[in-house]
């Protein structure tokens, strides 16, 4: 359903209402809690000299977080019930989420760490699954967002949504 909304936004964007489409996309992302205020801070660092800064950081984040997720995954397999190790790896991922404002993903990371603290293997596995799901969902949404920004061109960049 939400994807449909994005599509109708994209069509409206094609008709010239690009700024409107961006604002709607941005609001969707923040209302759904995918991204928080920190992402706005990152976008605010953009200027004429670094016009794609937020997208560059996001790209680095997804590359880095994919690696960190894989670290957790391997640790879950190779070191059963090693909650300290699991927690240490997840702490790195949580820090990364913090830096870009990935709030939903971050809160799943925090759940995982809580379960580590409780020594709850089942809880860890469940929340890790959610971390991966949020990671994928955020990547999808941000890719759509940046694509819209690119389509909108300089006009779109000027009317960047205040999230």
């Amino acid at each position: 359903m939400r994807n449909l909304r994005l599509n109708s936004d994209s069509r409206r964007a094609a008709r010239g209402d690009r700024a409107g489409a961006l604002i709607r996309t941005g609001r969707i992302l923040s209302r759904l809690g995918y991204l928080d205020e920190q992402f706005c801070q990152v976008e605010d660092l953009q200027d004429e000299a670094s016009p794609n800064f937020a997208e560059e950081v996001a790209t680095l984040f997804f590359k880095d977080s994919a690696r960190l997720i894989s670290n957790v995954e391997q640790a879950l397999e190779k070191y059963p019930k090693d909650f300290n190790r699991w927690d240490a790896y997840m702490q790195q991922l949580k820090g990364s989420c913090s830096s870009i404002g990935a709030s939903r993903m971050k809160s799943e990371c925090m759940s995982f760490r809580d379960y580590c603290g409780q020594g709850n293997v089942e809880g860890c596995m469940r929340s890790f699954h959610k971390v991966k799901r949020e990671h994928g969902a955020l990547r999808q949404k941000l890719e759509a967002y940046f694509q819209l920004l690119r389509q909108a061109g300089p006009a779109g960049a000027a009317t960047r949504p205040g999230m």
Binding site: Q38, Q41, E56, L60, D64, Q91, G95, S96, S99, G101
Partner: protein, 201 residues
């Protein structure tokens, strides 16, 4: 001695093992008019600063240090291998580097960790994610350390100046002036800025 009111930007060395975080801190610093060098580990930071891990306590001079003046070091706490805290200790143990202000960053708000860093000589502790507003806290630390350095050098200048008064008259070739001259020479060696200390720009 000229007042240091330079247009040359201050140079910050940023240390963080996370690539997106390095990109962020670099941008924050550049936006705040700092010149930035980023490295991804404590050992690379020490390398850049021109000291080796094993002999941090000895003053060692490396040629490239003549070109590199670092006015502040900002480092992440949690890093594999050498933590930010370990790096802080090495810097404070080094006679050539200990006057450079150090700021620690961490995504974890742990009071005991913060206190430990401050006790070890860190000038500031930033909670991640670091904000643009945090950048305004850096310059005061740089200026404070420069004032201290300037004051120390002034003190040594004054001491050698008072010695040179004895030596100024060429006819005054008593042994006391000889020893004053010798002392002056020694003082000059002390007051000449050490090559591996941050220079005034």
């Amino acid at each position: 001695m000229a007042v240091v009111a330079s247009e040359t930007p201050f140079h910050v060395l940023a240390v963080d093992d996370s690539l997106p975080d390095r990109k962020l801190i670099e941008r924050l610093l550049k936006t705040s008019s700092f010149q930035v060098t980023t490295v991804d580990s404590g050992s690379k930071a020490l390398q850049f600063l021109g000291i080796h891990d094993d002999d941090a306590s000895t003053v060692s001079v490396h040629a490239h240090q003549l070109d590199v003046a670092v006015n502040l070091i900002i480092t992440d706490y949690c890093m594999p291998g050498m933590t930010g805290y370990d790096l802080l200790k090495k810097i404070k143990e080094s006679s050539s580097l200990r006057d450079i202000p150090v700021v620690i960053m961490s995504s974890e708000n742990i009071p005991s960790r913060i206190n430990r860093c401050l006790e070890e000589g860190a000038d500031e502790f930033f909670l991640k994610p670091v904000q643009l507003s945090d950048m305004s806290k850096l310059k005061p630390h740089i200026l404070k350390s420069r004032c201290r350095e300037h004051y120390e050098q002034e003190q040594q200048h004054q001491q050698s100046d008072s010695n040179s008064n004895d030596c100024s008259s060429p006819t005054n070739m008593s042994s006391s002036s000889d020893s004053s001259r010798k002392r002056k020479a020694e003082d000059n060696e002390e007051i000449l800025p050490q090559k591996n200390r941050p220079r005034h720009s």
